[in-house]
Structure formats: structure tokens, C-alpha cells
């Protein structure tokens, strides 16, 4: 039986009428057209589908959308403001942390959550946190460098 769900996604209210078995990932991609959140495994192992749910970074493939009625969701599409990349996004671009880019949205969301909890992480903390985001292209070197480059609170005004 379908269920009514109200989500706040990237600041927009979205009224959905969905089957209860559908994942948040599925709904974001297919109902709302937010294809920046990627499906890499559907089993919570790769992190490509990471989004923020009420301020926490979560694998959206593991969440049932119907459970999140009333939640505030931020996806990678909601990170840049007024077309201006977030400092973390800029750093990932400039440090070469992006190759095929499929893992990138998940990395952005997870690293942002880390920086919110811990504005000045050391390398081991960045690596531990990002260990839930698989990347097959970069060996993580430049991703970690990019995150470390902005361990200053002043860069974290957004999100």
C-alpha cells in the first residue's frame, strides 16, 4: 500500500506517494530526478549514495523513504549555493580528487559531514571516515589531500 511522505530535499518540499519498500536512493533518483546520488552497490558497502538526512551522512540505498517523512535531506545537488561550488568541492576539483567521478558525490557528502563534526581533522581521521566510500580511480591520495586542505572552520560556512 502506498504511503504519503513529505520530504524537504535541498530546501524544497516534496510530497510523495510511494510504496513502502522503496529506498530513499530510488526515490531521489527516479521520482525527484536527483541523479547526482549514485547507486554503486545497493548494499551499503560503497558509499556512492551518501546523502545527509537531518544532518547525518547516511547511505541512502539502505533507507526506506517512507520512514523519513518530515526529514530534511541534502543531496550533492544541494551543496553548491548560487552556482558557487562549496570550498570542499573546489578543493576536490583543484587537487585532482576526481577521475571517473562516480564515487565523488558520496565523498562530498561524507567529507562534509566529517568537517561539520570535526573542522580540523588529521589525515588518519579523514581516512577513517572515508573508508566507507570506495573509489577505484584515485587511490584516495588526492581526495584526502583535498579534504585536509580545508581543515579550517572559515571554509565551512555553507551547509
Amino acid at each position: 500500500m502506498k504511503k504519503s511522505v513529505l520530504l524537504n530535499v535541498n530546501g524544497d518540499l516534496q510530497e510523495l506517494f510511494i510504496e513502502p519498500h522503496r529506498s530513499l536512493l530510488d526515490v531521489l533518483r527516479n521520482d525527484l530526478g536527483l541523479t547526482g546520488t549514485h547507486r554503486g552497490c545497493d548494499t551499503g558497502n560503497c558509499g556512492a549514495c551518501t546523502i545527509h538526512v537531518d544532518g547525518l551522512a547516511m547511505n541512502s540505498c539502505l533507507l526506506l523513504a517512507a520512514d523519513y517523512d518530515g526529514s530534511q535531506i541534502i543531496t550533492v545537488e544541494g551543496v553548491a549555493s548560487n552556482g558557487e561550488l562549496h570550498a570542499l568541492q573546489k578543493a576536490l576539483v583543484e587537487y585532482g580528487g576526481i577521475q571517473c567521478g562516480f564515487c565523488t558525490p558520496g565523498i562530498v557528502m561524507n567529507a562534509l559531514a566529517l568537517l561539520k563534526d570535526n573542522p580540523a581533522p588529521i589525515e588518519s581521521e579523514v581516512r577513517a571516515r572515508l573508508s566507507g566510500n570506495l573509489c577505484r580511480c584515485t587511490g584516495y591520495v588526492k581526495i584526502v589531500e583535498a579534504v585536509l586542505s580545508l581543515n579550517r572552520e572559515s571554509d565551512l560556512a555553507q551547509v
Binding site: 533518483r29 536527483l34 541523479t35 547526482g36 546520488t37 549514485h38 547507486r39 554503486g40 552497490c41 545497493d42 548494499t43 558497502n45 560503497c46 556512492a48 543531496t75 550533492v76 545537488e77 551543496v79 553548491a80 561550488l85 568541492q89 576536490l92 576539483v93 583543484e94 587537487y95 585532482g96 576526481i98 577521475q99 571517473c100 567521478g101 562516480f102 564515487c103 565523488t104 558525490p105 562530498v108 588529521i122 589525515e123 588518519s124 581521521e125 579523514v126 581516512r127 577513517a128 572515508l130 573508508s131 566507507g132 566510500n133 570506495l134 573509489c135 577505484r136 580511480c137 584515485t138 587511490g139 584516495y140 591520495v141 588526492k142 581526495i143 584526502v144
Partner: protein, 790 residues
């Protein structure tokens, strides 16, 4: 004459990175067409079985199902490298064989319909190893062939018996290398649509758009000009996209039968089971050296399990052969390989294409020889290293060669062994609160290595890889067009393919540098076979060299046209002009100071707005001066340049658990010239991640034809926390044939890693690991076995 090379060697961010970081790039999974339906495939329940009956009636009656397909829907033709494959099978030869397909309004409905298809099988005896497949009375996997032996390779140079006679030491070993897989973060996906003129458009993640047109035309029995391939943003490739696979013609058949566009996307589980793999190899190798250290011979026999269907993966012995014959200077070599059909997984091309396998056995044998001679492993390698401006007995014409420099560079890092590695430990295991202790330089290592159960070692390995294309097909060419518009905007239309490696940025740099414009003024179009000129495909680390040369030729032609007109404007000979930042300048003879300036945009407008006007458009085609190897001797110069590299691994082995922890991996690569050092480093660092997985964690466990670990929880990729400290060293040798001196680097990063790690493990615990991956179980078993021998 151009401005001093201002754009070459710059760390320019990837042109498509802003779109990717904002989630705006459109991957295959994101393609959505009006009326699009979703396809799913039913795979065989058995590794070898005849399909007696398929009942699709219940599936067809399910609401939302638009079409169900079986072998009855197959075109009459076969496809693939061995022409042994078809879309849907009536005889299943592996558990990844497609039996039926469903097209439905959404993926869930299609999935549900699969469960309603009833298949009756008659089981056939199956073979799961080359050994049994070649045994007497083994069931034939393709009965039209007389044997399961698909192909053999036999190469030799010199005289093996002379090599043996000359040897002071001879070493011998057997190696066992596993199935691994590309594990692209994006699973395989394709969208197929026929237009009203029966023309097929395929949105694809392929690496070979033009060859795929031809392959699909064979598979579907339609002319190649009726097929258009559009490449989406590609979420990882690494060789996965170097072949045609059944799902591609299946998607087309689904679109045809349903009359609607169809998306067929693999689940991750499907990707592990039905996607291609790197073929497992069993290798017997012998090698010798003289007392003063020079190599005498190598004798290698490799047996490859190629699975139930042949792909280009069965050609990987060519690369294993190259490593065996030409990595270091070896006067006497024999290499033999057998490619054998089994009822196992499909195997294919994967980054390095045979080279990670062969470098593992060649380089661990090198270590054995050095030890047998009591020589330093680096000195031994330097003594035998490949040299510039030489031709190997196999016929490889080595021009630039920085192999010694690479070895010396990583040896210099080894001299700092244990001194400055920030030991991160295994963060997943340690308490996150205890982070502080990880950062002190060296102190934690000293603490750890003080423990008697932890042994530390260092190991080396090198690599030789084609770096100037690879003439696998009769053409190794790539086309390019450079057009300049009346705003000074430049478009490079290249045949090459962007798979994340950064080719579009490198090519834009080459074009911008050649034309004298800014990189941001260059747009790269590279994704549509209806638009772009022909190219072999993105493989063999060839794009920078081949597509780079083609782009440079096209840009040079466009520059000539611009200078022609500018020369008329200024009344100055074209030879005295140069261009930079979108402006053509005249020089005063004998000086380099500017005299007159005109924007390229204005020059182009001048060409447009006049009688008998013309456009600025340059065309380039580059096919390197190389040879197909001889069909019988396998000799010939397959590439216009060769890349070299060396790695040093520093490891700790826990002798109580068998856990191998890599603390540091130093990677030096001779790339000719780094057009974009950041992109070069990215290739090496990413290659290292794959190489470390091959060494330590990655293995598709296959039993009776079935994958037992088809998910990321059990197929372990290195995570950010697992990675060691990577030191990347770029060695530049300025290759005479490469664009601005550059050679390819795409595959080299991961090729020597497993050998370097295995050699380091030996250095630590005195055990030669011959089976990959070196899991704690395997290492501990070897430690126990060694203990029992004593």
C-alpha cells in the same frame, strides 16, 4: 614558433570535474528517454546444462511486462573474439549465461517477472579448471571445436640450452594467480533505442565505440552504419569496456521487440557474476643468471582459464610474453601459453592486460636470482635494466628509457626505510580515539617493529609497458579535428574516449599549447560516433600518445590556417608569427618582442567575412610507425614508445596473524614527459590501489563455476584507511615520438605492485609467496609450514 611551453607540465584540474563534483554529470544509469522501459536478464542456474524448455507465459502475463525474450529471439549470427557467443543460450556453458530476458515498465517488475520464468535443464558434466578441461574424456564446452584448448602461444629467442649452460644459478617456481575484477564504481549499463529508420542508438560505457559498432553489427545482423554509439560519462572502465558482451546486443533486441527504448543496468551482484574478470593463470617459470649477475634465460609456461567464451582476454599472453621476453635484457627466452575453455566466468581485458600477472612472476623470480647470487636486488636489477636506444631480441625498439632512473629513485626512498612513514595503522581495527599516536614520524614504527612478532621488509619490482600505442589491430590510429570559431573558441573533436583518466584535459592542453590559446577556450567533443572521427579505442595506455599526436597534428594545421591569414593582415611572413592566450603576434626579426597583435577570433572573422572566405579547421590522423607482431614468431615493434616504472614496497608482517600491512609504496614512472603531472600522479596512485588489492585482498572466489563473494563486503577493495603512504615520482625522458615528449602511463601504476609487496614479504619473513592475494590465511599457513620444516 610558439610561446615557451606554458601549458605543458601544468597541474590543470580535470575539465569535467566541476560537473562531477556537483552531481551533474550524466552517467549511463542517469540516461532517461521518453517511454523508456527496463530490461533484466535471467542467468543460468547451472554451469553446464542444456535448456530443455523455457516457459515464459506467467512472466508475460504479469502486469507491466512488455516483452520476454529467449534464445528464439537470437539473430542467427555469433559474435565475440572467438565467434563463440550469442545473446541468449539454449546450452548454458557457465553460470553467467543468459537464458531469458524481460522488458518491463520498471526494474522491480522486470525482476519479479524473472522469477516467473520456468526453465527445465538437462545437466551436462562441467569442467572448472584448465587441467580437467584438457583431460581425456573432458566434456567439450563448444562441441564444434575438437578440444577445450582454444589457443596456444609459443615464443622463443636465443637458445635456451645455451642459456642454461651459461647459468651460475637457476631458480624455478610455480605461481597461482586469481580471478580479480575491475570493480568499476558504476556497474555495466546500456540504453538502446531504435529510431523510425531502424537505426540503433546505444548509450554505452564502452571503451571501443567504433569497434563496438562493428561487433554489434555482427551480433545483430544489421549494417554498421545503422548503429550509433553515444558514450555517457563513464564511471570507471579499466578494460571492462574493451569487448562486446551479451548484454549489449540483448538490450538492442529488447528495444526492438518492445518497440521502446530500453535501459539495461547491472546490479552489483550481476556485475561480479556476469562482468568480465582478469583471467587466472597458473605459471611454471625457470630463470638463470651468470655469476657476475647478468641474466641468461627465462623459460615460462602459462595456462590461462579463459572461461566459457573467448574475449580479447585470450590475447593477454601477448603481453605476458612481452614482459617475459623484454623486461630486462635476457638473451635466451621461451614463453608458452595455453588458453583453455572451462565452465567458469567470462574473462577479459583488465588494466595491464596480462602484465600484472607476468610482472609478478618475472619480478619475484628476479628477486630469487639476486638472492641466489647474493647480490643486492636493486644492483642486480640495475645491471640487467633495459637501456635507451636499444632493440630487444623480441624486436621492441626502445627509444626513451628511464628504467634505471626509476629504480634509483625508489631505492633512494628505500634508504629512508622505517624512518619517516606516518604509520596510520589499520584504522578500521584501531579505536578511532587513539589517532594521535599515528602521526608521530617513525616513532610508532619503531615501537611496532620492536615487537618480535612484527617483521618488516622492503621489496622492489619494475615494469615495462607499451607507452606509444599497441598495434593489436591492423590500425592503431586515432582521428582528430580542431575547429576555431569567430569568438576564438576552439573545439577538439577527438576519436578517443574519456573514462575518467583525464584524456580530455590532456588533449585540451596539447591543442591549447599548439594553437596558442587558453585551456579554457578549448572544448573537447569525444562521445558520439556520428560526430567524432575513428579511433581504435581507449586501451594499452595509448590515448595521450596516439590521440595526443592526432590532436597536435590537427591543431598545427588549424594554426597554419590562422597564421596564413594573420600573415596577410600584418604583411609579415607566417614564420615570424607566434600565438599565445588567443592572440597572434608578429615578431620583429631577430627579436622576440611583440610588434603587432590581433586576436585569433578576429583572424577567423576575417576568413569568414570575405569573398572566397573559408573556415579554420584542421584535421589530424595519427597511426604510429609500429608493426603487428609476426603471426608465427610474435616478434615485432608493437609500440612507438615504452614506459618504464619501478616500485618499492615497505611492509610489516604480523607473524602471529599472517597480516601483511604495506606501510609505504614508492612509485617511480618514466612517462616521457608529464603533460599534466596531477593527472599522471592520479593514474599511478589509482593503479597502486588496484595493485595492492591484487597483492593482498582481491579475489573472486569461484567454486564449481559459481562466484561465492559477489559483493563489496566479501570482495575487498583497498579503502582510504587501508592505503599505505604513496610516494609518486615522475621521471621524464622526453620521448622523441610522443606529443611534447609524453608517453602513456595508464596501466603501469598497478603492474609491479604485487611483486614489490611479495618481495618485501620475503624480506620480512623469508617466505616466497607464489599465490595471490597474500591473505592472512595464506601467509599464516606458509609461516606454519615453514616452522614445521625446521
Amino acid at each position: 614558433m610558439n610561446h615557451p611551453t606554458s601549458l605543458i607540465g601544468r597541474r590543470i584540474p580535470k575539465l569535467d570535474a566541476p560537473d562531477k563534483v556537483m552531481g551533474r554529470a550524466v552517467y549511463g544509469h542517469d540516461v532517461r528517454l521518453p517511454g523508456m522501459l527496463h530490461g533484466k536478464i535471467l542467468y543460468s542456474a547451472h554451469p553446464h546444462a542444456q535448456v530443455i524448455r523455457v516457459d515464459t507465459s506467467r512472466a508475460e502475463r504479469l502486469s507491466g511486462v512488455k516483452a520476454v525474450l529467449t534464445a528464439a529471439d537470437n539473430p542467427p549470427t555469433k559474435f565475440g573474439y572467438g565467434k563463440d557467443n550469442i545473446p541468449f543460450k539454449s546450452i548454458a556453458r557457465s553460470m553467467r549465461d543468459e537464458i531469458a530476458g524481460v522488458v518491463a515498465v520498471d526494474p522491480d517488475t522486470a525482476e519479479e517477472a524473472l522469477t516467473l520464468i520456468e526453465v527445465e535443464y538437462r545437466l551436462l558434466p562441467a569442467v572448472f579448471s584448465p587441467e580437467t578441461a584438457l583431460g581425456e574424456n573432458a566434456p567439450l564446452i563448444h562441441p564444434s571445436r575438437k578440444s577445450n584448448l582454444f589457443q596456444t602461444y609459443s615464443y622463443a629467442h636465443g637458445d635456451l640450452s645455451e642459456g642454461e649452460r651459461e647459468s651460475k644459478v637457476i631458480v624455478e617456481a610455480q605461481f597461482n594467480l586469481p580471478y580479480v575484477t575491475h570493480a568499476c564504481m558504476e556497474t555495466s549499463v546500456v540504453v538502446a533505442q531504435f529510431d523510425l529508420h531502424e537505426r540503433l542508438t546505444l548509450w554505452s560505457t564502452t571503451q571501443i565505440p567504433f569497434l563496438l559498432q562493428r561487433d554489434l553489427s555482427e551480433a545483430l545482423g544489421i549494417p554498421g552504419n545503422k548503429i550509433r554509439i553515444i558514450q555517457t560519462a563513464i564511471g570507471g572502465a579499466f578494460g571492462r569496456g574493451l569487448d562486446i558482451y551479451p548484454y549489449e546486443p540483448i538490450a538492442a533486441l529488447m528495444a526492438k521487440k518492445s518497440g521502446k527504448p530500453v535501459r539495461l543496468a547491472f546490479s552489483r551482484r550481476e556485475e561480479f557474476i556476469a562482468g568480465p574478470t582478469r583471467q587466472p593463470v597458473v605459471v611454471k617459470a625457470r630463470a638463470g643468471a651468470k655469476s657476475e649477475g647478468s641474466l641468461t634465460f627465462r623459460d615460462v609456461h602459462a595456462v590461462l582459464d579463459i572461461g566459457a567464451y573467448v574475449s580479447w582476454g585470450s590475447v593477454t599472453p601477448l603481453v605476458m610474453m612481452e614482459t617475459t621476453a623484454s623486461l630486462y635484457r635476457v638473451p635466451h627466452v621461451r614463453f608458452e601459453a595455453d588458453c583453455v575453455y572451462t565452465n567458469n566466468l567470462i574473462t577479459g581485458a583488465m588494466r595491464g592486460y596480462g602484465n600484472p600477472q607476468s610482472t609478478f612472476f618475472v619480478e619475484t623470480m628476479m628477486d630469487r636470482l639476486a638472492e641466489a647470487l647474493s647480490m643486492d636486488p636493486v644492483e642486480f636489477r640495475l645491471l640487467n635494466a633495459n637501456l635507451p636506444n636499444t632493440t630487444t631480441p623480441q624486436g621492441l625498439v626502445i627509444t626513451s628509457c628511464g628504467m634505471k632512473e626509476c629504480l634509483q629513485a625508489v631505492a633512494a626512498v628505500a634508504d629512508r626505510s622505517g624512518k619517516d612513514v606516518p604509520d596510520r595503522g589499520s584504522l578500521l581495527e584501531e579505536h578511532p580515539g587513539a589517532q594521535d599516536s599515528f602521526n608521530a614520524s617513525g616513532s610508532s614504527i619503531a615501537r611496532r617493529s620492536g615487537s618480535p612478532k612484527i617483521k618488516r621488509g622492503i621489496g622492489f619490482a619494475t615494469t615495462l609497458n607499451v607507452g606509444g600505442g599497441a598495434r593489436i589491430y591492423r590500425s592503431d590510429g586515432c582521428g582528430a579535428t580542431v575547429k576555431v570559431d569567430d569568438f576564438g573558441h576552439v573545439t577538439l573533436i577527438t576519436g578517443s574516449t574519456e573514462i575518467g583518466q583525464g584524456s580530455e584535459t590532456i588533449l585540451a592542453q596539447i591543442v591549447a599549447e599548439t594553437l596558442g590559446v587558453k585551456v579554457e577556450d578549448v572544448a573537447v567533443v569525444n562521445s558520439d560516433t556520428d560526430v567524432k572521427p575513428w579511433d581504435v579505442g581507449v586501451h594499452a595506455s595509448r590515448t595521450t600518445f596516439i590521440a595526443g599526436n592526432a590532436a597536435a597534428i590537427a591543431a598545427t594545421e588549424a594554426r597554419k590556417q590562422i597564421f596564413e591569414t594573420a600573415s596577410e593582415i600584418f604583411g609579415v611572413p607566417a614564420e615570424q608569427l607566434f600565438a599565445a592566450d588567443g592572440v597572434v603576434c608578429s615578431t620583429i626579426p631577430g627579436t622576440t618582442s611583440k610588434a603587432k597583435e590581433v586576436s585569433i577570433a578576429k583572424v577567423v572573422r576575417q576568413r569568414h567575412f570575405r569573398e572566397g572566405g573559408t573556415i579554420v579547421i584542421g584535421e589530424g590522423w595519427y597511426d604510429p610507425p609500429t608493426q603487428l607482431v609476426d603471426k608465427h614468431t610474435y616478434k615485432g615493434n608493437i609500440s612507438a614508445a615504452y614506459g618504464f616504472g619501478a616500485q618499492m614496497a615497505e611492509v610489516e608482517v604480523d607473524t602471529e596473524t599472517g597480516q601483511v600491512r604495506v606501510l609505504r609504496l614508492a612509485c617511480a614512472n618514466d612517462v616521457g614527459r608529464a603533460i599534466n603531472p596531477m593527472a599522471v600522479e592520479g593514474q599511478i596512485e589509482g593503479g597502486a590501489q588496484m595493485g595492492l588489492g591484487y597483492a593482498l585482498t582481491e579475489e573472486l572466489i569461484v567454486e564449481n563455476g559459481q562466484v561465492l563473494n559477489p559483493d563489496f563486503h566479501h570482495y575487498r577493495l583497498f579503502t582510504a584507511a587501508d592505503m599505505p603512504h604513496i610516494e609518486t615520482i615522475i621521471v621524464e625522458t622526453d620521448d622523441p615520438g610522443g606529443p611534447f615528449g609524453a608517453k602513456g602511463v595508464g596501466e603501469m601504476g598497478g603492474t609491479p605492485t604485487a611483486a614489490a609487496v611479495a618481495n618485501a614479504v620475503y624480506d620480512a619473513i623469508g617466505i616466497r609467496m607464489t599465490e595471490l592475494p597474500m591473505t592472512p590465511e595464506r601467509v599464516l599457513a606458509a609461516i606454519i609450514e615453514k616452522g614445521e620444516e625446521k
